[in-house]
Symmetry: C2
């Protein structure tokens, strides 16, 4: 499956979230990660994030898709991490 994750995390925890996500996904933009993951890895990511974040202060939105091909992307301005070249 393919996931897009966007987060809004308090500064004291944001680096922990970033380095955790970097182990599983590609950094795409300031607070956006994307990547292909297995269902069990997806579960691991969700549990790992819940261990790090404060659920009353932080917010993470996960958009899961069955296939990478379902996700189109238009970039305006700087393409910080050109995912199409990575995949």
């Amino acid at each position: 499956m393919y996931v897009i994750i966007v987060y809004d995390i308090k500064v004291e925890r944001v680096n922990k979230v970033k380095s955790f996500l970097r182990q599983h996904l590609f950094w795409i933009q300031n607070s956006v990660f994307e990547g292909e993951v297995s269902r069990s890895e997806f579960q691991k990511i969700k549990n790992g994030l819940l261990d790090i974040i404060d659920e009353e202060e932080d917010s993470i939105i996960i958009y899961p898709f069955e296939f990478f091909s379902e996700v189109e992307r238009t970039v305006l301005g700087v393409e910080k991490s050109p995912i199409d070249e990575i995949l």
Copy 2:
């Protein structure tokens, strides 16, 4: 169609981008907007953003989908703007 827009904009232009996007879409999280738009509105949004941003410094990623139903969403932590209640 349905769009998710995530942005990373230099501080001097970010409020302009936010208020522009607020005219067309729903604010979902720190730097994420979503919403149902017509194709012509989608074009208008892209052109409007290009008028505001500095293409060498700012970055906007647009994920377009044919239908809202293609987009699932899992929220961890605070659900800042519960889109399902809005739509």
